[in-house]
Amino acid sequence: MSERRAVPLDERVILAMGGGGFTMEPSNPLLDDFVLGLSDADAPRILFLPTASGDQTAQITAFQARFGDRLCQPEYLSLFRLRDLRRPLAELVLEQDIVYVGGGSMRNLLAIWRAHELDEALVRAWERGVVLVGLSAGAMCWFAAGVTRSSGPPEPIEGLALLPGSLTVHADGEPERLPVWLTGVRAGELPGGWALDDGVGLLFRGRALERAVSSRPGAGAQRVDAIAGELVRKRIEPELLGDRPAAALGAIDDSIAELRRVRRIQRGIGGRESGIGRP
């Protein structure tokens, strides 16, 4: 892989999901197909980071099940089982088209990334046009702040601040998290930001929100700011993925998907040498 160069701000892409994708929606591929469509590559190199879960086997297996037979080059990187990786982590991250971060403990996620200096590598990857994707802890980590349950009860936590504002996730699935976030925003301890239901993804170009998409009817998002000590809440209606021609949403149209599948078989896409886990 040749050296990637920095791209202009509006070509830096992050998709933050409140929940959903292969770990939470094993029978609903809408968000994950949308993810693959975010890269221009025919067969994007997609790297899964299960760090926040402690590299749980179940997450890795789900990743393999979802992406193993799609047109892409899936790999995962376990920071607890690095034995066979003989290359610098930063190099591996920079040669990806997409980096997909799983859910779990946000506190552990950031601490372990820092210990391995992977946080800096991910920032550099974003600056060079690698699409960053994540759900739950893996979504909040890109913002200035989030709400974590890493120690049990929900509490505010700082993120990497590639994106302005704060994010809270599972707004519908884990109702105890939202009030802590709202209280933090009202008190000025947390910057204003977004609350996402499970199945909702916010697509950022540069630091600006471009689109909101969803894999589930009825799932929504809200933007919340504190103005003069009062909360101003604005509902965001996401586009429901899959209910109109998929190509228009950036996902893969069926016939194209079929064509790509055939090409993939013809080219025998598979093992590249990197010495890490691969579906």
Binding site: L82, A111, I112, A115, H116, S150
Partner: protein, 272 residues
């Protein structure tokens, strides 16, 4: 709580996670607690709190101990083992057993949860600390970690003012790498082969024991002419040495036969 001096048992590899008959080293560590039924808490952080590792811990320690574990990854799901105040729980133990895995990931997660300070306090208070691999390296000032790619130096908690190297016999090149690091300025220290345990009281090495006949530890330090490696014999804990009475219920495990000695379970990612 018994009045005990600060103690650490650093395993070069071995114990319940690596040896099918891993009772010898584990029994030795348990004997240091001086309790009939010790409170033993497992920290599987370095493995990412791998479920199978936790299960094996309970299988080994539940019968004779009040066993518990602390997970730093599953606390939001209510399956993190200890649910109350983790610091208070750890400080109330007789033995804290730290599992193997990746020492860099483990130290990062500990720091984020404040466990580095808690473990320091526990040590001073007389809670026996032990572990293999990453669970050994973490107690030292510096350590040689070869878990990922080229070996690197890692700063540990610094309870012991030495460096440490584990699996000294198991990985080719480990010995030369350690010598190189010590020659380049890493503080001198101790290397242990698989099945060897270094026993420290306060900051002093007071004993070396082993679950394998002939296994050794080494003292490695920089000298005027380079790096000196001094072999340190270990006291074999098995049947031929009657002087170590680990615990009464350890008797069946101590009847180890040559056939069993080197058999190991290879299921775990325990390199450092």
């Amino acid at each position: 709580m018994h009045a005990r001096p600060p103690q650490i048992v650093a395993l070069g590899g071995g114990g319940f996670s690596m040896e099918r008959e891993g009772s010898l080293l584990d029994d030795f560590v348990l004997s240091l607690t001086g309790c009939a039924r010790p409170r033993v808490c497992f920290l599987p952080t370095a493995s990412g709190d791998a479920d199978h590792y936790v299960v094996r811990f309970y299988r080994r320690f539940s019968p004779g101990c009040d066993a518990s574990h602390v997970s730093l990854f599953r606390r939001d799901q209510g399956v993190g083992g200890v649910e109350e105040d983790v610091a208070a729980h750890l400080l109330g133990q007789d033995l804290i057993y730290v599992g193997g895995g990746n020492v860099v990931s483990m130290l990062g997660a500990w720091q984020a949860h404040g466990l580095d300070e808690v473990l320091r306090k526990a040590w001073r208070k007389g809670v026996v600390l032990c572990g293999p691999s990453a669970g050994s390296l973490c107690w030292f000032e510096e350590a040689l970690s070869a878990f990922h790619g080229a070996p690197r130096g890692v700063r540990g908690l610094g309870l012991l003012p030495y460096s440490n190297c584990v699996h000294y016999d198991a990985e080719p090149g480990r010995r030369a790498e350690y010598a190189r690091f010590v020659g380049d300025g890493m503080v001198g220290g101790f290397a242990a082969e698989d099945g060897v345990a270094l026993h420290f009281t306060r900051r002093r090495l007071v004993g070396i024991v082993s679950s394998r006949r002939g296994a050794r530890a080494y003292h490695v330090r920089a000298t005027a002419d380079g790096v000196a490696e001094t072999p340190l014999p270990a006291r074999y804990l098995g049947e031929e040495d009657g002087s170590v009475d680990a615990r009464e219920d350890a008797a069946p495990a101590r009847a180890s036969t040559p056939r069993r000695r080197r058999r190991r379970a290879a299921a775990l990612p325990l390199a450092v």
